[in-house]
Amino acid sequence: MQFDMLAPGSHPDLVYPAYKSTVKRGPTLPPVAVHAPASLKTNLAAPSSLLLPFDADLTAQGDGDPLGEKIVVTGRVLDQDGKPVRNSLLEVWQANASGRYRHKRDQHLAPLDPNFNGWGKMLTDDDGRYRFVTIKPGAYPWGNHDKAWRPAHIHFSLFGNAYAQRLVTQMYFPGDPLFEFDPIFQSISDLAARERLVSRFSIDETVGDQMLGYEFDIVLRGRDATPFGL
């Protein structure tokens, strides 16, 4: 697998003062470009035995149904050749419908939902496809500035098929009015790159009268994978 240098603006700016925490936490020196040694082309093999029955249905982890709008999110994980990234681990986490995380440090006054944890994990299939059922997360305030509200989003953590493909990102929902006010979203200077984080509504993925469908494809760094994905 080959890793090319990235076009400027492909990722957020590491120090983006409108997002205050970046000022002391984002590295200021350019990264040291190194040739990826062979060992970076391996990755952990997550056994499917680690996947629990309801890891891909975040609405089925409690004793009853969580509150909010049930949705299904699906998409394909691809490399830069557009080839599927198969059998690779993907983690998701999110706020509940009220915009509250189940986390000891979340101080938002919105209520927890006893039937919603807000986390899951899964493996991609032979097409690179993942699919999970959840609740549409709410927007929430985060104290970065006056009236700082995050647009609704789901966090994604992807392992790919090679260590150097690791990606953590956030999926947004189409047409969110908070995009223009959110420095985390705005930290990606390239407008086309930014739009790649916005899922699209899909009538095809919508399931009858149960839930609306959203599609979100993810492209991980790397090309020229072998037929085994490495």
Binding site: L14, T22, R25, A36, N43, W119, G120, I184, V219
Partner: protein, 176 residues
């Protein structure tokens, strides 16, 4: 045609519960009698302030094969949160003597870090002169990637996000 990548976004402050399963599943090395080393780490921001909401992942390909044979669930992989004092502890299987490979390839995540950073940790008593990855780093910055011996099978290492001793972070798109 080369497809453009999906951009990164910060892990934010609320990953702990979602990520905990892997912290638990990466069996502590040594439980099965393997030789281990322990890296006592510290994560600091540009002011030197400890980062108490970071996540550190370590990948040791050389140890993965051995740990797999010993039925570790996430062989070769470690994930640890930083604690209230910014500390983290990596207990790693020791694959061989005097290696020229890093003890672990390390990925750093935290709130306020919009793109996770790839680094690596080497041990000071390893064969650093032959370490191919380390030799690609400017000599004056190599020390930021070397953990210092602090006791028997025990090492100390600091990750500094900024400043004069800013840790080296890698871009793996370099030419061979």
């Amino acid at each position: 045609m080369t497809h453009p990548i999906t951009p990164s976004q910060t892990i934010g402050p609320f990953s702990h519960e979602a990520w905990q399963w892997a912290c638990a599943a990466c069996t502590p090395a040594g439980a099965d009698g393997m030789e281990t080393i322990t890296i006592h780490g510290m994560l600091r921001d540009g002011d030197g302030t400890p980062v108490n909401d970071g996540m550190i992942e370590a990948w040791s390909p050389g140890a993965a094969t051995i740990e797999h044979e010993r039925a570790h669930q996430l062989a070769g992989f470690r994930r640890v949160p930083t604690d209230d004092e910014g500390r983290f502890t990596l207990v790693l299987s020791r694959a061989e003597e005097a290696s020229c490979e890093p003890a672990a390839l390390v990925t750093v995540f935290m709130r306020g870090l919009l793109v996770h950073q790839f680094s690596a940790v080497f041990l000071e008593d390893d064969d650093l002169d032959r370490a191919a990855l380390l030799r690609q780093v400017p000599p004056e910055r190599r020390a930021t990637l070397v953990a210092r011996k602090s006791g028997p099978a025990s090492y100390a290492w600091e990750i500094r996000m900024q400043g004069a001793q800013e840790t080296v972070f890698f871009d793996y798109g370099g030419a061979p």
